[in-house]
């Protein structure tokens, strides 16, 4: 049963992704990308990653989509027709995908509790969270305590983005003239 849910969601995602490639109406593309994130969130639920699902829904479907729409309002809505037939990108993508698939050939089957990834470190968290931190959500414990340093980094990343957006688009830019390219150097 679960497998079929899984397959149908993944199938929907594939359709969405292909539609994103095909469509040139950017508003539709952005909406599809939001839907894609929602589908991803549901597949995360299927895979028992509720925290991730929650985040993906809030971020991918929520914040990201909102930002994209905001940008569209400030720019344009239709993508130009691609001028050239992209052969090289196709080759790159096929090779990359092939390597990745090659890599999965030795990965343990989906859901295998004996996979190397399930040994040692992960069980340590499951076993000790209660003892160390006294809270039931292991993800939170790992996030904020065992790997708290990572999360500090994560907060700094988001902080950096905030600073960056202010620096690039802040109100202080409004009075400035358009920046002219330096005349005396050609690209």
């Amino acid at each position: 049963m679960e497998a079929w849910v899984d397959i149908s969601i993944l199938g929907l995602m594939a359709l969405t992704a292909i539609a994103i490639v095909m469509l040139r109406n950017l508003l539709a593309v952005v909406m599809l990308s939001g839907i894609y994130s929602l589908l991803a969130a549901s597949i995360f639920v299927v895979m028992d990653a509720v925290d991730v699902a929650f985040t993906e829904a809030a971020v991918g479907a929520g914040i990201s989509t909102m930002l994209f729409i905001g940008t569209l309002a400030l720019t344009t809505r239709i993508e130009k027709k691609p001028a050239h037939t992209p052969v090289l990108p196709l080759i790159v993508v096929i090779i990359t995908g092939a390597v990745l698939i090659f890599g999965t050939l030795d990965v343990a089957v989906y859901g295998d509790p004996l996979a190397p990834a399930m040994q040692d470190v992960a069980p340590y968290y499951l076993e000790n969270t209660k003892k160390h931190a006294g809270i039931p959500n292991v993800v939170t414990a790992v996030l904020a305590s065992y790997r708290g340093y990572d999360t500090l980094g994560e907060v700094v990343v988001i902080f950096t983005a905030g600073i960056g957006v202010i620096l690039l688009l802040g109100s202080w830019r409004r009075g400035l003239p358009k920046i002219a390219p330096h005349k005396d150097d050609k690209a």
Partner: protein
């Protein structure tokens, strides 16, 4: 959007619940899914909704740029300084345990504090980014 009375009323009614939900996610993250990051996003979403209906200017009156900037930096500082507090107490960076009497309490307190920092920064950043985009004018 002055003419959409229904929208305005509903937004006003909805907003406290959204913010409350945000707070719930923030503080319940230890027990169920959620945490500072998700809470921050929800919190920000509430204000974004508010600004969509009432206009950015009104939203900025509630949350002036200065406060957002303080939140932006404050969240990171809270997180980082919790770590430093451990150093002063003689433990490793971000160790939490010495923050309270027992390890469990220390950890719990530490996690609570850093999640607070996360939530603060995320909410401020999201709102800042949104407001910045919304007020950007090309001339």
């Amino acid at each position: 959007m002055k003419e959409y009375l229904v929208l305005r009323v509903i937004t006003k009614l909805l907003l406290p619940f959204i913010l409350l939900f945000g707070l719930y996610v923030q503080f319940h993250g230890d027990f169920g899914p959620g945490g500072g990051f998700q809470a921050g996003v929800i919190f920000a979403a509430g204000f974004v909704l508010y600004s969509l209906v009432y206009g950015v200017a009104a939203a900025q009156k509630v949350l002036p740029t200065g406060i957002l900037r303080a939140g932006l930096a404050g969240g990171v500082l809270i997180y980082a300084l919790v770590g430093v507090a451990n150093l002063i107490l003689g433990a490793n960076y971000l160790e939490y345990t010495p923050l309270a009497d027992t390890m469990k309490e220390g950890q719990h307190l530490g996690i609570f504090l850093v999640e607070l920092g996360v939530g603060l920064t995320v909410a401020s950043v999201m709102m800042t980014v949104y407001f910045t985009f919304a007020t950007w004018r090309e001339d």
